[in-house]
Amino acid sequence: MSQWQYRPHRGGGMRSFFHRQGKFRPRSSAEATSDSPIPEDLWVKCPKCGELLYSKELDHNARVCPKCGNHFRLGARDRIAILTDEDTFVEWDTGLRPEDPLEFVDPKGSYSDKLAATQAKTGETESLITGIAMIEGRPVVITVTDFDFMGASMGSVWGEKLARAVERATADGLPVLSVNASGGARMHEGLFSLMQMAKTVAAFGRLGDARLPHFSLLVDPCYGGVTASYATVADVILAEPGALIGFAGQRVIEQVTKQKLPDGFQTAEFLLDHGMIDLIVERALLRSTLAILIDHHIEIPPESNPSDNGLVPKRTLVEPEPEVRSRHGAGSREGQLP
């Protein structure tokens, strides 16, 4: 029934989604080029339709295949760049660092060594980035996972960063947008990892008590503890087309059940059909959709003056046109009815 998914009209032509905000240079996603002999900085083969795409053009299209609409994975910084207004993102809590309370050792070595190597490779300190930004002029607390950082596994720093961000949103009366990809728990942090599910749900519970909205955007792939905690108890749950979303991983399910998985199992479209998400939104329409959603869910007290405080959201996305205002009157507006 994906024909019923939300597809608002596109306004105007395509725009460049990457604002080139200094350090937020788009990086190619590793998964898209892994089995391609072509240098990744020039050409990318679409894994869905097989089309060879010029990498810069793909970037220009927010890494959505212009031929088949396949949504390539996006790095966390790229994600922030396409979702938020240029130069508005302010990152929070960049000094938080993981520890190794279990003194975890696996055949490849210690957790500490793995962390150091990952940090060096990615340039990030952890798998969650938090901060505040504007989306079409509306201030939003935003949390974005980084799948390149240990498969966006949820550990203590994730939990702490997220709780701090959500608590600030609660205190300041701001909506929260969480962008969620994850491979699940971070095994190396043992039960500390599992308990971050409790910590994050609790923080969002308090946001909800304050009647502030949480918009959760599920992107490919989103599994395990994140799917089983705050990402699926949001007020509005959005997903990108084709994103794989589930609790148990597909390989585990196949091994345990010895059954063939149904077609489209765990895709965003599958979840929509099964009632688990509110809407699927193409990447190009995410900003405008989020802007409308924010307007519907954040109320400005009548006495406040939006112009006084840059942090107060605007009430309406688009100023109502005169003919819209009078649509109950003379009936001059052309509707969709015959």
């Binding site: 007020d235 009632g275 809407l279 409308i292 959603l293 869910h297 819209v324 205002r325 009815l337």
Partner: protein, 290 residues
């Protein structure tokens, strides 16, 4: 606009001889009559449909979402059938399954959380009577939607725009105002079902429709609806005018409710709920002897 398939269609307006109840039943069911999606397109902006019951499925026979009405964000709920076979299969001919009622309950809670007034459009032949709907608790799902609706702490305006069929209609009609188009009907059972039970012959539907008192005029006389919205021309002949007329009356009643309701003032919310309670508490025809 296709030619009317109703014999006496020119008399559907109020300025002609009154129609029989069964004629209004046919008009109410006319597939060309504007449906929930038409009202959404004409009267609302910034509509974002919210899907799913978060437990089993997404029922396209009972849709809902957030939208802007008169510069205010509201929650909209409504039944929606299909315009053709493919759509009717997807929308189960506008007959909600338990998932639809569970979605409506979820969205009513959503509206309460964010202080969104609720507007509902009633247009269904009834709740789905299938085996799997029974398995998943059709009765329970309707009951839970009713319980949510009588207690939800935001103003609600409901409009019967087509056929109001039994529990499936009731599930989203317990508002602070119940409006009804002149050619809409609202009944405890379809005239055909009633005739099958009492006459043992569904072809006595016309007789059943008469005695069941299913028209807006009857229900206005009984005090069950708050307002009858005239169709100068029947809605399927003048869809845009009808939708506009309904929009005006929704706006009027919503404004009235918003004048007394303030989400941040619990006393005003309690007053709204007391009035809603009294609405339903007082419906009934009985007398008392000592």
């Amino acid at each position: 606009m296709p030619a009317s398939r109703l014999a006496n269609d020119a008399t559907a307006g109020t300025h002609q001889a009154p129609l029989r109840a069964i004629d209004r039943v046919r008009i109410a069911r006319d597939p060309q009559r504007p449906g929930t999606l038409d009202y959404l397109a004409e009267l609302f902006t910034n509509f974002i449909e919210l899907h799913g019951d978060r437990a089993f499925g997404d029922d396209q026979a009972l849709i809902g979402g957030v939208a802007t009405f008169n510069e205010r964000s509201v929650l909209v709920l409504g039944h929606q059938g299909g315009a053709n076979t493919r759509e009717n299969l997807a929308r189960n001919f506008g007959m909600p399954r338990p998932e639809g009622f569970r979605k409506s309950r979820r969205l009513m809670r959503h509206a309460e959380k964010f202080g969104l007034p609720i507007v509902t459009f009633i247009d269904t032949s009834g709740a789905d009577p299938g085996i799997s709907s029974e398995e998943r608790g059709q009765g329970t799902a309707i009951a839970e939607s009713l319980l949510e609706m009588v207690g939800v702490r935001v103003p609600i305006v409901c409009v019967v725009i087509g056929e109001g069929g039994s529990g499936g209609a009731l599930a989203i009609s317990l508002g602070d105002r119940l409006l009804m188009l002149e050619n809409a009907v609202y009944a405890v059972a379809s005239p055909e079902a009633c005739a099958a039970i009492l006459w043992k012959d569904a072809s006595f539907a016309a007789e059943a429709a008469d005695t069941m008192r299913v028209t807006a005029a009857d229900l206005q006389r009984f005090g069950i609806i708050d307002e009858l919205i005239l169709e100068e021309v029947a809605a399927h002949e003048a869809p845009r005018e009808t939708v506009a007329a309904v929009g005006k009356r929704i706006a009027f009643h919503l404004d009235e409710l918003l004048n007394i309701w303030d989400a941040s003032d619990p006393a005003s919310v309690d007053a709204l709920l007391d009035a809603r309670y009294a609405r339903f508490r007082n419906i009934g025809a009985w007398h008392e002897v000592s």
